[in-house]
Amino acid sequence: MTDSKRKQDIINRGIDRRSFIKWSSLLTGTLLGPGVMVSCDGNNSPTASSSAGEKIIRTGCPAHNCGGKCLLKVHVKDGIITRIETDDRQGDSIADPQLRACLRGRSYRKRQYHPDRLKYPLLRTGERGEAKFKKISWDEAYDIMHREISAVISRYGNSAIHVPYGTGSYTNTNGRWPAARLMNMLGGYLGYYNSYSWACTNIATPTMFGTLASGNQRQDWMNSRYILMWGWNPAEMKDGTNSDYFIRKARENGARVVCIDPRMTPSAVALADEWIAIRPGTDVAMMSAMAWVIITEGLEDNEFIQKCCSGYDSSTMPEGFEDEEAYKDYILGSSDGIPKTPEWAEKITAVPSATIKRIAREYATTSPAVLYQGYGMQRRAYGEQVVRAGATLAAITGNIGIPGGWASGLAGQAGGGPFWTVFPSGKNPVKARIPVYLWTEAVMKGTEMGPEHGIRGADSLDNNIKLIWSVASNILVNQHGNINRTVEILKDPDLLDFIIVQDNFLTPSAKYADLVLPACTQFETWGIEDGWKYGEEVFLTPQIVEPPFETKSDYSICAGLAERFGIYDKFTEGGRTEKDWVAWFVDEIYRKTRFSDMPPFRKFAASNAGVYTKPVNKPRVAFTDFVKDPENKPLNTPSGKIEIFSTELHNAGQPDEVPAVPKYIREWDNPFDEKADKYPLQAMGHHYNPRVHSTHHNNEWTMNAFPQRVFINPIDARNRNIKNGDEVLIWNERGRMRLKCRITRKMMPGVVDIPQGAWYDPDEDGIDRGGNVNILTSERWTPFARGNAQHTIMVNMRKA
């Protein structure tokens, strides 16, 4: 029956099964059987329409390190949040765009009013990890904390205490900063450097440029004619609110946009003219082959290279290193006998050589061009290399220091900008710091760690970590590599004397705590925060509703503990509340430095604006001064130039793993070795739309929209007789998981994707049912940055 016949049937004689119409009859099932009648249960949920007594408060979206920072319009009635809208400021220009919240912000009520919110302090009664606790009072909780922290300080010293990395909450007064302040006042704690997000780019970028601020302001993308989104997926992980939207506008402005990624990401679909699938961990091979094309076809910018770069070829080598291998030697193969041709790269990357040649020519000749590097590819075995290889392509094509170009690397905003922690945590009297990813090493054998483990500030550690106070962090279990290993470390009472976890929920990490402290959400206290990586704005986040049950803000928790230690006045500067601190930040810091035109706190708060923005009419371009006058405005590198050959890396003395020029190095787990017979699939764990890392994993709205699954290419599924929606078992030498699959053509063959951040949920056999990729990942760190290489994993898979 044709659709139009069905239509006439419906109009003429009502509906029956024959007249059932659905889009192209593709939805074979129906959500509703015929004649379904459900009685009304009388429990209509209250409507959220605006009505009398409702207040609308503008505020910054709760900060969970999501990659953006947006404005919310929060409707509150009778002390309850009833609806969440977003930025509706007039104009919405490129210079001052609306800061529209994504699904995570819009769905926040499902997190805010989740029945599993922690309500009371909890003390462990079972074994660590068993999640058996008893409710205790705050008085008892403070007594225990005071006792345990004091005991560890007197037994071992302050350096046995660790306040780990964590980005679950950070609006200056919230998150780990107050805990860091308190510990610093109590004699310090073992600190860390680097992050789980971008350890390699954080360390590698300055080896090229002497700075992390290698990015132009994003409005400058409108000047670009060609944009390579390399492993970069702003439509999903944001990387600055509006980065995805700005790419759209740049494309409308004439830029051709190409996405290179193992997944056909939302960015590839919605932002790019072309998508190229590349095997994970092989990006440097393609970049090197692009350099080969550029060099052999004479497309390099020789004037720029001679003026601004060090180590490109024998004529630009730094003094004293003339006989070392220059970048051009490596690319042409004159040093190792392997020319890095597109044909060479094709076998490694699975990108056709013709495509590599074309992209190389397009990038080198469509000036100015952006090569934007995502961060996933630097959370890999030799993540330092990809950062330097990408930036080298920008350098040899002269795309640095010019409008519409892009230097690559970490690309923090030129002239400074976001991620500004103004909360005064104070100076840490314990000088030693560990690379952030090596905290499990410091628990097990801290006293054996030295410079070879990247220890900074001291030659070695005095202590193993004996007490952990984890605030707004899920790295203890969920987000660290190799969960089966981590939980054994946490369970061992001989290693850690005491574990404190402070959070909104009983996370997989909190289940391993001895003491759990219930923190309130950011809607329930005052805070302030600037943008994420880019932009010129400050968000005020006032207290909108009361903290429920016995929850307290992170700052209040620390102030209460400070009282036990007799330093309440010192810690609170004479009794400052969260709001007092925010007022002080606005009036004494922000207004006196970066934002002189910002209204004073009293006026800002009374205006209910929620955000102060400084329009970006003339976007700053990184390295403008240097490029104009490299002699007199040198970079902060040993040579003063862009170091394609890094003397610092050369002096590291590990040429195989830390070469002085960027090289493709085969990863330790890869699809090419014999080991791939056993574990033939590469696995990745991308940043997933419904979550921010592990935050929002229990959000019913976002997780119903995007359930946790493993994404598999149809070819890999067919070879294993796996059907869409099947439960599959995925395993390697470190762990096993079982979860549902989605077969999708968006995945590259040979690669499976298990979105990172799902909550670890083992069954009695130790098989994770939560879909946490870290059951498969490794604790092994990268050779120079000592960063996490969690995306370098090989797995096997079968139908469960």
Binding site: G14, V38, A235, V269, N704, A705, R742, R745
Partner: protein
């Protein structure tokens, strides 16, 4: 009466479902009750060529809810006349008349009416009637981080964006006269050539 309509820019939709969630939040919908939904369309094949691939598949996203059609089949199909055309030309449900029989869902080619299991009544996008009569856009429209949705008088939208109203997998527009305009994704024509599918049925 001038009709209102939605503009749906499938070329720039990233499939993030912020529109879907904004709608659920405004209307207090439980997680499985989805009024504005986002289809993931996939098509094409991976064609292996020794160690590389000579062809890649394609994909695009389509955000869709009730299209408040000029010939709403749901209204024709409703035995109690609960489903009706409102004074602003949108299609609404009079809950006091609805018996939850679901015939409207059968009739709708866009799968818009959904049973609200909590009330036993049918439910669907009401075009944010309360907002539209106050000259505001429906909640989904201004939620879009990509600015890929728009709303207004249909003739204005057609003048601005063209009059395309059907791409794969939607039915031909003359069936119900949907009040919408679509900017087609560059690959939507390929999808019409076969071997394409709605890939995220379990999410809808």
């Amino acid at each position: 009466m001038r009709r209102y309509g939605f503009y749906i820019d499938t070329a720039h939709c990233s499939g993030c479902k912020t529109c879907q969630i904004a709608c659920q939040d405004k209307n207090d919908l439980y997680p499985e009750l989805i009024w504005r939904k986002v289809l993931d369309i996939e098509g094409g094949e991976w064609e292996e060529d020794e160690e590389t691939y000579k062809n890649y598949p394609f994909a695009y996203h389509l955000s869709i809810s009730c299209n408040h059609c000029s010939e709403p089949l749901c209204v024709h199909a409703c035995p109690t006349q609960a489903m009706h055309v409102t004074d602003i030309g949108s299609v609404g449900i009079d809950e006091s008349k609805c018996i939850g029989c679901g015939y409207c869902t059968w009739a709708c080619p866009y799968d818009a009416p959904r049973l609200n299991k909590k009330t036993g009544r049918m439910s669907k996008c009401d075009m944010c009637y309360d907002k539209v009569i106050n000259n505001e856009n429906p909640i989904c429209v201004d939620s879009c981080p990509m600015r890929a949705l728009d709303f207004g008088y249909l003739d204005d939208l057609e003048a601005r964006y063209g009059d395309k109203k059907s791409i794969f997998p939607l039915v031909a527009e003359d069936l119900t006269g949907p009040s919408m305009v679509i900017n087609p994704h560059r690959d939507s024509e390929k999808a019409g050539e076969g071997n394409s599918e709605i890939a995220n049925r379990e999410e809808l």
